[in-house]
């Protein structure tokens, strides 16, 4: 399973490589799709910033800067989901109740407008139900 282990949290991706395939070089499809909106010359900076922020989240259990982190919409259990922010790219996720110490990243998205897109809310909710309600 593709995940990142920090001192306080494990960052786990809802998108995983297909079973039985070679995992090296694999990246979530939503990440690759979001990157398409960003000029190729900026890709490495985006990789580095996302890696640094998810490392900080994993080691400290939280991100404080509003430039790095945002509380987003509500989840069916009354809690909220969040976003790690890197420029206009978002990693939407939630703190798992079912799997203690795990922050699930539902998917990545390039944010086109000011408001949270309904399709992103729907996707987080769908993934949340699959993980938390099994």
């Amino acid at each position: 399973m593709k995940e990142y282990q920090g001192a306080r949290l494990t960052i786990r991706y809802c998108e995983q490589p297909p079973a039985g395939t070679e995992h090296d070089g694999w990246a979530p499809e939503s990440w690759l799709a979001a990157l398409q909106h960003i000029p190729p010359g900026k890709h490495n900076k985006i990789f580095a910033r996302m890696a640094a922020r998810r490392e900080q989240l994993a080691n400290e259990g939280q991100l404080r800067s509003p430039d790095y982190w945002n509380k987003e919409g509500g989840l069916p259990d009354g809690k909220h989901f969040y976003a790690i922010k890197v420029d206009r790219l978002r990693a939407y996720g939630w703190f798992s109740t079912r799997h203690k110490g795990v922050f699930y990243i539902s998917h990545f998205a390039f944010k086109k407008g000011q408001k949270l897109a309904q399709e992103d809310t729907n996707r987080v909710e769908m993934n949340w139900r699959m993980i938390e309600k099994l």
């Binding site: 399973m1 990789f47 910033r49 996302m50 640094a52 998810r54 490392e55 900080q56 800067s65």
Partner: protein, 130 residues
């Protein structure tokens, strides 16, 4: 188990260097936000204490403007804090890192370790510790 971001960083020295820059920026920014939260200060109030504009502080904190050591010192002074800095060995490509014991966070895992000199070995095997 590693993730695709870690794989990207290990792909070249240039990527690892870029990540090291962003990690430092992230850690410093988060430390400042933590101190601001603890002091109950907003960005505007911090700017006022620094005799700077809110726009300047925003740019420094969101990474759009490089933070000089002088600016960091001014922020710390305004927050009544003294920064501490320690240069540690960074992780090698194979994932190992050397350093002082207190520099490492070890999570409570339920695993038991046997210590011989300065080497900690999981008593129930490496496989279960991995």
């Amino acid at each position: 188990m590693t993730d695709f971001l870690e794989q990207w960083a290990s792909r070249s020295e240039a990527n690892a260097k870029l990540l090291a820059e962003e990690v430092l920026i992230t850690e410093v920014t988060e430390a400042i936000w933590r101190a601001m939260e603890e002091a109950g200060l907003t960005k505007a109030e911090l700017a006022k204490k620094m005799e700077a504009t809110k726009g300047h502080v925003s740019q420094v904190l969101n990474g759009n403007r490089n933070m000089t050591l002088r600016t960091l010192a001014d922020i710390c002074f305004a927050l009544d804090r003294k920064p501490s800095l320690r240069l540690e060995a960074r992780k090698t490509v194979d994932g190992w890192q050397s350093g002082r014991r207190e520099d490492f966070h070890i999570r409570k895992t339920g695993l038991h370790y046997v210590q011989v000199d300065n080497v900690l070995t999981p008593s129930n095997g490496w496989k279960s510790a991995a």
